[in-house]
Symmetry: C2
Subunit: 329 residues, 2 copies
C-alpha cells in the first residue's frame, strides 16, 4: 500500500471531532460528482439546479439511527443508498425524475470520518442512477446519526400525479415488489446474514424510478410509493381520493425469495407482502381499459367508498393486524 493510501486510511479513521467541520465539508465536496443539470454545486451558501419546465418537485425524508437503520446492520454506503432511494421514490411517485439531493447529516463526535464519506458515496451513487447529484447539505454534531434528505425533481412538463385522483372503476396496478425489505429485516433480526439477496434488499432498495414518469405518461390517475406498507400506503391514496380500494390477493406478485423464506421460517408471506415497507415499489391507478405501462401488474380496482368511509379491502375484507410502519403510531 502506498503512503498516500495509508494516509487516506488514517484520515478516514479519525473521529469527526478531530477532522473538523471545514475539512469534512471539503472532503465531502471533493467526492461528489456534479451533473450538467447542476448550475452551482456544493460549497456556497446555496446550490442552483435547473428546473426546465418552470416548476420543481421537492420531497423530504429523514432516517434516524436506531429507528430506520442500525450501524451494525448497514454500512454507511448502504444508508446513503437507502436515504437517497426513499426520497427519489417519492419524486418518482409524482411522475418526476430526481435532479438533485440536499443532505443534512447529524453525527456523534466519535463517528469515524470514513463513515460520513462513504455515506456521501452511497447518496451520490443512488442519485447517479437517474443522472442526479448531491448538490448541497449541512453537518452538525448530535447524539446519534440522522440523515435528512431533500430531493428535487423535474416533471418535464407533466402534471404531478397526486394521491387524490383515483376514481371508482380505475384499475390498481403495482410496479416492483413488496415484502423483500421486510423479509430481509426478519433475517437480520434472527442474527443471520442470508439469504443475501433479501438482506441486500433491506439494506439497499431498488425503486423503479423510470416507471413513475412512465405511469404518468400512461395516464395514471393517482400514485404513491410503498414506503410504509402496501395496505398503509394504499390507505393514504384511498383517503386522499375518497374511494375504497379492493386488492385481489392472488394478483399481488409473490416474490420467490420472500416465498422461500416464509416457508423456511414456517410462516405465511402475507404480512411481509401487505405490510412490509421500504421496498419503494410504485402503486398507481389507471382508467379501466388503459394499457398498463411496462412493469405494472393489475392487483385490484377502485370502488365508491362504502358508507363514505375510504378504505382498503384485501379479498373483500379489511386487513386485520398492523398495516405498516408508523412512528408514534
Amino acid at each position: 500500500m502506498s503512503d498516500t493510501a495509508t494516509n487516506a486510511e488514517d484520515r478516514g479513521r479519525r473521529p469527526l471531532s478531530v477532522t473538523g467541520e471545514a475539512d469534512l465539508i471539503a472532503a465531502l465536496v471533493r467526492r461528489l460528482p456534479q451533473a450538467a443539470s447542476v448550475l452551482l454545486g456544493p460549497g456556497d451558501d446555496a446550490a442552483v439546479v435547473t428546473a426546465p419546465d418552470g416548476r420543481v418537485v421537492a420531497a423530504c425524508d429523514v432516517l434516524v439511527e436506531g429507528v430506520h437503520f442500525a450501524r451494525s446492520w448497514s454500512t454507511a454506503y448502504d444508508v446513503g443508498r437507502k436515504a437517497a432511494a426513499a426520497n427519489m421514490a417519492d419524486v418518482a411517485a409524482m411522475g418526476a425524475m430526481t435532479t438533485g439531493l440536499l443532505v443534512a447529516l447529524v453525527a456523534p463526535d466519535d463517528l469515524e470520518t470514513s463513515w460520513a464519506l462513504e455515506l456521501a458515496d452511497g447518496l451520490a451513487d443512488e442519485a447517479g442512477l437517474v443522472g442526479a447529484s448531491v448538490v448541497g447539505g449541512d453537518v452538525s454534531r448530535g447524539p446519534c446519526v440522522v440523515v435528512a434528505v431533500t430531493a428535487l425533481g423535474d416533471l418535464n412538463g407533466r402534471a404531478p400525479v397526486t394521491r387524490g385522483g383515483a376514481r371508482p372503476g380505475d384499475v390498481v396496478a403495482l410496479c416492483g415488489t413488496t415484502g423483500r425489505s421486510a423479509a430481509g429485516l426478519a433475517v437480520l433480526e434472527r442474527g443471520f446474514g442470508s439469504p443475501r439477496a433479501l438482506v441486500a434488499a433491506h439494506r439497499r432498495p431498488s425503486p423503479p424510478y423510470a416507471s413513475g414518469p412512465a405511469a404518468s405518461d400512461a395516464g395514471a390517475t393517482a400514485m404513491v410509493d410503498v414506503s410504509d406498507g402496501l395496505v398503509s400506503d394504499l390507505g393514504q391514496l384511498a383517503r386522499s381520493s375518497g374511494v375504497t380500494i379492493e386488492i385481489d390477493k392472488a394478483d399481488v406478485p409473490l416474490d420467490p425469495d420472500v416465498a422461500s423464506l416464509a416457508s423456511a421460517y414456517g410462516r405465511v408471506a402475507d404480512e411481509w407482502l401487505f405490510t412490509g415497507g421500504e421496498d419503494h415499489a410504485l402503486v398507481a391507478t389507471f382508467a379501466s381499459g388503459a394499457a398498463l405501462p411496462d412493469g405494472f401488474t393489475a392487483i385490484g380496482r377502485v370502488r365508491v367508498a362504502q358508507a363514505g368511509e375510504p378504505t382498503v379491502l384485501v379479498d373483500g375484507r379489511e386487513w386485520s393486524g398492523r398495516t405498516g410502519h408508523r412512528h408514534w403510531g
Copy 2:
C-alpha cells in the same frame, strides 16, 4: 374557555407518541398556509413549487437541540423562526428570494404535540415574511430534537452571487448587524433575561432578506451571510475568491445594545462583533465606485492575496483568537 379550546389544549399537551404520526402530520398540514407559488403543498409524496426562471436555488441547514438551541431558552416558535431564518438568509446571500421550505423534524417520544405545532407556526411565519410557505417535510422519533430545513428560492433571472467573485479593489460592505445574537446568548448564559432586545435577537434573528437580491441588482461580485461570524464567513469568501480582505474596525457598525452590554459586563464588544454568528447579516463585495444599495455600509476592501494566502485582516492584522462557531472545529 370553551370546551373546544380546552380540548385543543389537552391535545396539545399529549406526547407525540400518543398523538401518532398520522394525526401529527394532519395537524401540521392544517396549520400551514400556502402561497400562490405553491402548486402542490404538504400531504402528498412531494410538493410542487414554481421555479419561474427555470432554475431553483436550494440551501440546507440543520439545528440540533443542545448544539444550536436549548428548549429551556427558546420556545418552539422561536426555534421555528430561527431555523427558517438560517436557511432563508442563505438563499438571500445568493441574490434570491425564498419560495418554499421543507422541514424534517426528529423529536423524542415524550415531546408535547404543541411543541411541534408551534415550531411549524414559527417556520410558517418566518417564511411568510417573504411570501414563502412550508411546502413539505417529514417527522420521526429520535433521541433529541433535530430540525433540518431545506429552503427553495427564486433568482428572478439574476445570476447567482457566489462566494468566489470578489476581485482586488472591490469594496466590502455589510448589511445588518453582527454581535447581537452572541451578546444575547451571553445574557442567557449568565442566567439573565434582559436586555430583552438582545435575548430576542438570539432567539429570532432578523436577516435583511430583500437586501440580497438588491445587492445582486447593484452588481455585488460576491456575497455571504454571517452565520458563523464575520471573520469566519469573510474567510470563506476570501478563500473561495482567492483574495485577502481588509476590514477597518472603526467602520464596522457597533450596535448600541451590544456596546451597552459590553460596557455593563466589563468587556470589549469586539469578540461579539467579529466572531458572533447567527445574526445573518449579509456581507458583499462591490466594484470600487459602485453605489452601495440601501442598508449596506462599507467596512473594508479586497486586496491581492499576500503570498498567495487568502485571509482576513482586521486593521491590518490577522484576527487573533477564535473566529466563529464551528462544529468539530
